[in-house]
């Protein structure tokens, strides 16, 4: 170790170095600051190359002067510890500070200072900044798509109602807590479904719903007399079979009209769009992909080889193809696979396609949770005499799902970020609406504003979700 401290401060001469160092550091930052905010170049008299690098050199020397192991001055020690640990770090810190100072003025002026907010025509947007007027004028389109302006309260009302109904879990007392799963898995989706169909769509619901309801009620009643060993397979097959028998062999009618709400006009799904469509699609895909994924995760770990192979095949197939080809399939190939008179709306087709696609990812995430559980849990449950379903519902799944909360949240985030892809089937959510607005002859040339706006919205949604999932993870973390 050499004892020569070349230009290094120590406790005795700290003050001199401190003044000199902070002065140089300050000068370097001031130079960049004046340069970027006021377009003043203090070092203009120097050669071009030197003038460009001077702040970096000054700042580097300044930081070198004030670097000391321990000074006793709180702020200085913090500075040294966090941004000034060695030469390399000092240069990087300086560069980042300079980049921030340099990029602030253009960003600020584009976003706020030179931007135009007032008015409702393109003429107000003369400045060099952003034209937020464009966003303001097109706001309804970005939020609701082609949904008629006069009817948009229906979407708002439905969303508010669904959010309120969804937040029931927060206020439920302990007495009702045990019904919450049932509520969220069965009742809430049903309510949401009815809201969408009667309220947002508003059309006469031609739906062979009623056969389904009859089949469901009948099969539940008969289900009580089926031995529990076969209950799963019974419920897998009998309701569907009943439905088919009722529809094609007993009643022959094409549809039963469930009726519509009086005073509401029908808005076809082609007119839905914007951010509200993003929400609708994410909501339904989440609801559908979760149980499907769970079934295939269990299937992949089943002891029956055929079920296992089928599950592996399903999961690997959907995980192996890009979503855009899945949507292509739902748009051009799927109608070929259905009976000719059987028409499925393109929104429903898109939701089915995305749900199946995401279900494969959910399945893999849940399988990870199942694998992470120690064998002892399975053995303990079995030794209590629990069957397959009891064991999974009361012992395995509650623990496994707790483990995979972050993974599920990530999958759901991916789902929300994938919704813009539905442009493939001709539905326009917010990004699609932006592309449409961009080509409007009255509003040419505002692509940047539109994309920035959509990016901010998506960023807020996704960031909030990822933070929420992090909180959930912390909340349900159980040490083992």
């Amino acid at each position: 170790m050499s004892n020569i401290n070349f230009l290094k401060p120590d406790r005795t001469n700290l003050n001199t170095f401190l003044y000199l160092g902070s002065f140089l550091f300050f000068i370097s930052i001031l130079d960049v600051f004046l340069n970027s905010f006021f377009r003043l170049n203090l070092t203009g008299f120097l050669p071009n190359f030197l003038s460009f690098l001077l702040p970096l050199i000054l700042g580097f020397v300044g930081l070198y002067f004030i670097r000391i192991e321990y000074s006793g001055i709180k702020n200085l020690d913090l500075l040294n510890k966090h941004i000034n640990t060695n030469n390399f770090n000092a240069v990087l810190s300086l560069l980042i500070i300079f980049i921030i100072i340099k990029s602030l003025p253009p960003i600020l002026s584009w976003f706020v200072i030179d931007a135009s907010f007032a008015g409702d025509t393109k003429d107000v947007c003369t400045g060099s900044g952003a034209c937020w007027t464009y966003i303001k004028v097109w706001m309804r389109r970005f939020m609701y798509g082609m949904y008629p302006n006069a009817e948009q309260w229906r979407i708002n009302l439905s969303f508010v109602a669904l959010v309120l109904l969804g937040s029931v879990g927060y206020f439920a007392t302990d007495k009702f807590k045990k019904y919450l799963t049932l509520y969220y898995v069965v009742i809430y989706p049903l309510i949401a479904f009815l809201f969408i169909f009667f309220f947002i769509s508003g059309g006469p619901v031609f739906f062979d719903f009623s056969y389904g309801i009859i089949a469901a009620i009948l099969s539940i009643i008969i289900g009580f007399f089926i031995p529990s060993k076969f209950k799963f397979y019974y419920f897998l097959i009998v309701p569907l079979a009943l439905y088919v028998i009722l529809k094609y062999f007993l009643f022959f009618e094409e549809y039963i009209e469930l009726g519509k709400l009086d005073g509401l006009n029908w808005v076809e799904t082609g007119a839905w769009g914007g951010l509200s469509l993003t929400f609708i699609i994410s909501f339904f895909c989440l609801i559908f992909c979760f149980p499907i994924g769970m079934a295939f995760a269990l299937g992949r770990r089943s002891e029956f080889p055929l079920i296992r192979y089928i599950s592996v095949g399903f999961i690997e197939f959907w995980r192996g193809v890009p979503l855009i080809t899945v949507l292509f399939m739902s748009a051009v190939m799927f109608p070929m696979f259905l009976p000719e008179d059987f028409f499925i709306d393109k929104l429903v087709r898109a939701i089915i396609a995305i749900s199946l696609f995401e279900a494969a990812y959910v399945a893999e995430v849940i399988r990870g949770g199942l694998q992470a559980l120690p064998r002892g849990q399975y053995e303990a449950a079995k030794s209590l005499g629990m069957g397959y379903w009891k064991m999974h519902i009361f012992v395995i799944l509650p623990q496994a799902l707790k483990l995979v909360i972050p993974g599920i949240a990530n999958t759901f985030l991916a789902l929300v970020k994938d919704t813009p892809l539905i442009f493939v089937v001709g539905l326009l959510e917010i990004v699609g609406m932006l592309n449409l607005a961009k080509t409007n002859p009255k509003w040419l040339g505002f692509a940047m504003e539109g994309y920035v706006f959509a990016a901010i919205i998506f960023w807020i949604i996704c960031y909030a979700m990822s933070k929420y999932s992090y909180n959930l993870e912390q909340k349900y973390k159980t040490d083992r």
Binding site: H82, F304, G320, P322, M329, P335, E340, V431, A447
Partner: protein, 383 residues
């Protein structure tokens, strides 16, 4: 008997359900195709395609077959994926390490980057780069040269082309260098195990990989020259660059957004991997007298890579699959050329969509088989 029945019945029911569903679909498809007068078959692949593709790596025009068009699309997909994977890996590793930096500013900067880019849909980013950012670039005649040879214009990036003479010899010299390095590594390991001596393998390897190709220039007669793009006037207001290699803006926007987006995920994998190595490992390694470099090389990296590689491979797969978003900005990849244009022209929906899906499936399954094999190889052997 009862025991067997219990095993067989659920499987039978499941298989029956799957067969029924598929049978139903096939039956309907047959009827539908009969009604519309479409016949099923892959014969169209050898027919003349009669459409043109903007950007292709192999020779192609309308007189070639549909199969050739498929190859063009596939190669374009692979091109964009490979470039994207390389950039994303470099960026991801840098950002991942930066997120662990003790420097507050670097740390936060990296965190900001990750949180910013991973929370915006990829499609939106592609649109942003293609329709907003790259449209703000200058026209060819106004473009300023970067380092005198690159031209970044609204019509794409023009870079100099490499013109090689005796490229074979250069190529062989690189292969020779790689073989020499492998031999030296094996030798060094033997020497260390037998005598405890260490040979500076890393320095020798770097030397070899530079010196041998350099020798090929000096002795082997390898020549390298550049063809710089030159501005050419087509009409009074229309200019293009000639010579060199031109990268279309679609390709630039796609690689840029794909790699910026995927790099955030790779960065998180790298961070998790390095953090996943226990602190005790580092301290133990230091306490038996390893130098910091050896600690990193012999103790940290092997354990960190075990955590890093599986999720990173997954990200590569995602990038390859996400490259299909190219269709949205008309970059001629597999989806656009084959599932788009070719499908429109032939109307063979089932055949073309199934070929496209099967191609992606083959790509991803082969990568995931490789990954599983590697995973098994490096996993800790538990007793």
């Amino acid at each position: 008997m009862n025991f067997k029945l219990k095993d067989i019945v659920p499987q039978l029911i499941t298989v029956l359900a799957v067969v029924l569903v598929f049978g139903f679909f096939t039956y309907n498809a047959q009827i539908n195709m009969e009604n519309r007068g479409i016949d099923f078959g892959y014969g169209f692949l050898s027919q003349e395609s009669s459409f043109d593709v903007q950007f292709s790596l192999i020779e192609y025009d309308g007189s070639h077959s549909y199969f050739r068009a498929y190859l063009v699309g596939l190669l374009n997909t692979i091109l964009v994926s490979v470039i994207g994977i390389i950039i994303a890996t470099i960026l991801g590793v840098i950002v991942g390490i930066a997120r662990l930096s003790p420097n507050y500013l670097i740390n936060k900067f990296a965190a900001f980057y990750v949180e910013f880019f991973r929370n915006i849909p990829l499609l939106l980013q592609i649109f942003f780069w293609y329709f907003a950012a790259l449209r703000a670039l200058p026209l060819p005649q106004d473009a300023e040269a970067i380092f005198g040879v690159f031209f970044l214009t609204i019509k794409g990036l023009y870079v100099p082309a490499f013109i090689w003479q005796n490229f074979n010899i250069f190529f062989y010299s690189i292969i020779a260098a790689i073989i020499a390095i492998i031999v030296i590594r094996a030798h060094a390991k033997k020497v260390q195990e037998n005598q405890g001596k260490q040979i500076p393998v890393f320095l020798i390897s770097i030397g070899l990989i530079f010196i041998l190709p350099l020798l090929s220039f000096l002795i082997g007669g390898v020549r390298l020259s550049f063809e710089v793009p030159v501005l050419k006037q087509l009409a009074t207001t229309s200019f293009i660059y000639e010579g060199g290699v031109s990268l279309p803006p679609e390709l630039i926007a796609l690689t840029l957004s794909l790699s910026l987006y995927t790099a955030t995920f790779i960065a998180e994998c790298v961070r998790a991997g390095i953090q996943g190595v226990g602190k005790g490992q580092k301290e133990a390694a230091a306490s038996i007298g390893l130098t910091p470099n050896q600690v990193l090389k012999l103790v940290i990296m092997p354990q960190a890579l075990r955590i890093i590689i599986p999720p990173t491979t997954n990200q590569y797969l995602n990038l390859t699959k996400n490259s299909s978003l190219a269709a949205a900005i008309a970059y001629p990849d597999l989806v656009l050329v084959f599932a788009g244009t070719a499908l429109m022209q032939t109307g063979k929906a089932i055949e073309i969509v199934s070929i496209t899906m099967f191609t992606y499936l083959t790509l991803s399954i082969s990568i995931s088989i490789l990954m599983n094999w590697y995973n098994k190889k490096i996993a800790i052997q538990e007793k």
